[in-house]
């Protein structure tokens, strides 16, 4: 069983919601990433999303764009990112890691080579922002053959017909994009999210996790009422930006943001 599935099964048995933080690998510099990942787990992360820096992150807002720029100043590549995960795995064999990024860096090293190295490093799932299921005919089976989950996005604009296709292809969990926009945009509307998640329940047994617009304990709890998990990115990456000059303080900052969300989620009645 894939680590992601195992983790969600545990959470379900406990009646808890998943807390899924995102950071960009190599931000603000490569030597800090593994430490941040451990700190996030200690603060209550259930699954980790690790961003692959890209020069043209067209689905991301300014906060994550700048994170990519900081990482790329150190020329962070997938090969280094795999090393980071390998190092993380020396002391954490249980927390699932999902790579999130754009297709071009993956294609550049080759789909098969990427999948081999990712699986070998201890990665569990891959979310390629600019690869909808229609374009995943080649990549999907390559990932599956190595036990890597293909994670897909569902948006407020996704038709029911498309949602069915996405659910049929998706593994691990479904990432519901809570608002029309880029990462780090306005605050989400929890009622709106609820009305979009309900029909998805009829299409899939995959856990439904919600991202975009979750910035604190209160918004996490709002979403936690209707979702199986919450994903937080820009709120964390914003802290990294604020403290980029004093990287030694960042792990503590990230822990504080995440711990507040953990507490808010765990205060909800069991699912």
């Amino acid at each position: 069983m894939n680590r992601i599935d195992r983790r969600f099964a545990e959470l379900k048995a406990q009646g808890r919601r998943a807390l899924i933080p995102y950071i960009t690998a190599g931000d603000p510099a490569p030597q800090y990433t593994v430490g941040f990942l451990h700190a996030l787990v200690a603060a209550g992360a259930d699954v980790l999303e690790l961003g692959v820096p890209f020069s043209d992150p067209m689905a991301d807002g300014p906060v994550i764009q700048k994170a990519c720029e900081r990482a790329l100043r150190h020329n962070v590549r997938l090969s280094q990112l795999f090393e980071m995960v390998r190092e993380f795995r020396q002391t954490d064999r249980d927390t699932p890691i999902v790579l999130m990024g754009y297709l071009n860096p993956v294609e550049r090293i080759g789909l098969e080579a990427f999948a081999d190295q990712a699986a070998d490093a201890g990665i569990d799932g891959v979310l390629t922002v600019d690869m909808p299921p229609e374009e995943a005919d080649e990549f999907g089976p390559i990932l599956k053959a190595r036990g890597l989950a293909s994670i897909f996005l569902v948006a407020p604009t996704t038709s029911r017909e498309r949602a069915a296709t996405i659910c049929a292809h998706g593994e691990g969990y479904l990432y519901y994009v809570a608002l029309k926009g880029v990462t780090g945009a306005a605050t989400l509307n929890a009622d709106d999210v609820a009305s979009h998640l309900a029909p998805l329940r009829g299409l899939t047994d995959l856990p439904l996790c919600v991202g975009f617009g979750i910035r604190d304990g209160a918004s996490a709890a709002e979403v936690g009422k209707v979702a199986d998990g919450v994903i937080v990115g820009s709120a964390l990456v914003g802290r990294i930006a604020e403290h980029a000059e004093h990287p030694e303080t960042i792990a503590g900052e990230l822990s504080a943001v995440l711990a507040e969300m953990r507490q808010a989620l765990d205060a909800l009645p069991p699912r």
Partner: protein, 404 residues
């Protein structure tokens, strides 16, 4: 039968041109692209839609554009007869308006009150602002901060037309970043906004519909060639950034095997220097950017490369996916012209024919200077003079050491 007849049946239903093209976008945009595709496919063969498009091209753009025999220049080059397809005479000064007229009609049919565009040299931005003014649509144009600086005149033109120009300061501050920002805008405002993409790139169905709207250039050139010299041209030449003017000229000739085609990319300081914008001529690796798979200049880590060109309109690391396929199947020869050769061609056409070309179009002219002398005087080359050079006067003056 043409050995290239399969090429006119593309893209397939999912927007692929062989291994290229497609729809590599984040999920939020899939719905809007599905909708656009449906709208376009339902209107493409609709006689009323076509009649309105044709009427606007005739009465607003001023089509057909002439096919001009550059007799004096041909004589000077000492070979083939060079004919210029005068897209520079269109309203707004370039081929770009053919496409914006078409997409603005689609925007109108879709009932969306706001249009956005990306622009490099500013020609597409001006063409978009123009049709937006005419239809009373709100218009915002994304333009790389560096291009805002080197194309001040077009920026002001857009503002006069009522558009808001938004300088883009992310990334390399040029065309590719303007397109990222336009896509971010679209994903946020997808309900009320129509994105008018300016070239044969982007996610499906854009490469197809931008091609179709620009193909009027090639249809006219085909007919005019038969009228003027009684046969099809021996060669076609057009510059290629994203590739819309080249696509427009080439497409109606694609099954005419006897017509050679040359797409001229921006060689910058030289393809071997790395400072260029010639993904096809430099055999860049295959990659994915802005919604399609194509030849894409990127480093070993898959990060998109900085590009360089004297012309803002060609300063783009990718190229339309249909061009990528045409390179692979050998239908078109893709070459590059360096900045210095481009400037020389710019000055030469201005002095010899009294026609000042856009620096983009001067790339095609630079290749005509190479090709024409290798051909016979009874052979004919059609060069797409895709735009006029007024917008580039400041750039050239600066090179000459003049400031106004």
């Amino acid at each position: 039968m043409s050995k290239f007849s399969d090429l006119t049946r593309l893209p397939d239903t999912r927007g692929h041109f062989g291994p290229y093209g497609g729809r590599f976008v984040s999920e939020t945009l899939s719905f809007a692209l599905d909708e656009l595709e449906k709208t376009y496919l339902s209107l493409r063969d609709d006689p009323d839609f076509q009649a309105e498009f044709d009427y606007d091209l005739a009465h607003y753009v001023g089509r057909p554009s002439p096919l001009y025999h550059a007799e004096r220049w041909s004589k000077q080059l000492g070979g083939a007869q060079v004919w210029l397809k005068r897209e520079d005479l269109n309203h707004t000064g370039a081929h770009k308006v053919n496409n914006t007229i078409g997409q603005a009609l689609l925007a109108k049919m879709s009932g969306k009150p706001r249009v956005i565009a990306e622009t490099g040299a500013g020609q597409h931005g001006v063409a978009t602002a123009t049709v937006a003014a005419r239809l009373g649509l709100a218009c915002e144009v994304y333009m790389g901060a560096e291009d805002v600086e080197r194309q001040k005149l077009n920026v002001y033109r857009m503002r006069l037309l009522g558009a808001t120009v938004i300088p883009v300061t992310s990334g390399t501050r040029t065309l590719k970043d303007a397109m990222n920002e336009a896509l971010r805008d679209w994903v946020t405002n997808v309900d009320d906004t129509f994105y008018i993409i300016g070239t044969v790139a982007g996610p499906h169905p854009y490469p197809m519909l931008v091609r179709d709207f620009n193909a009027v250039v090639g249809r006219e050139a085909r007919r005019q060639s038969l009228e003027e010299f009684g046969k099809l041209p021996d060669a076609l030449i057009a510059c290629v950034g994203g590739g819309s003017n080249a696509m427009g000229l080439f497409y109606p000739f694609v099954e005419d095997d006897e017509v050679a085609m040359y797409g001229v990319e921006a060689g910058g300081d030289g393809v071997d220097t790395g400072r260029h914008a010639a993904p096809l001529a430099s055999n860049a690796p295959r990659g994915v950017l802005h919604g399609n798979r194509t030849y894409l200049m990127s480093d070993e880590g898959g990060q998109v490369s900085d590009t360089h060109s004297i012309s803002a309109g060609l300063d783009y690391p990718g190229v339309g996916p249909e061009h990528a396929l045409w390179k692979d199947v050998g239908r078109v020869n893709y070459v590059a012209a360096n900045d210095d050769a481009v400037l020389e061609a710019f000055r030469e056409l201005t002095r010899v024919e009294g026609i000042m070309p856009a620096l983009e179009s001067a790339h095609a002219l630079a290749h005509a200077k190479v090709l024409a002398p290798t051909m016979r005087p009874d052979q004919h080359i059609v060069v797409n003079l895709s735009g006029r050079g007024d917008k580039d006067i400041m750039t050239v003056a600066k090179i000459d050491g003049l400031e106004f």
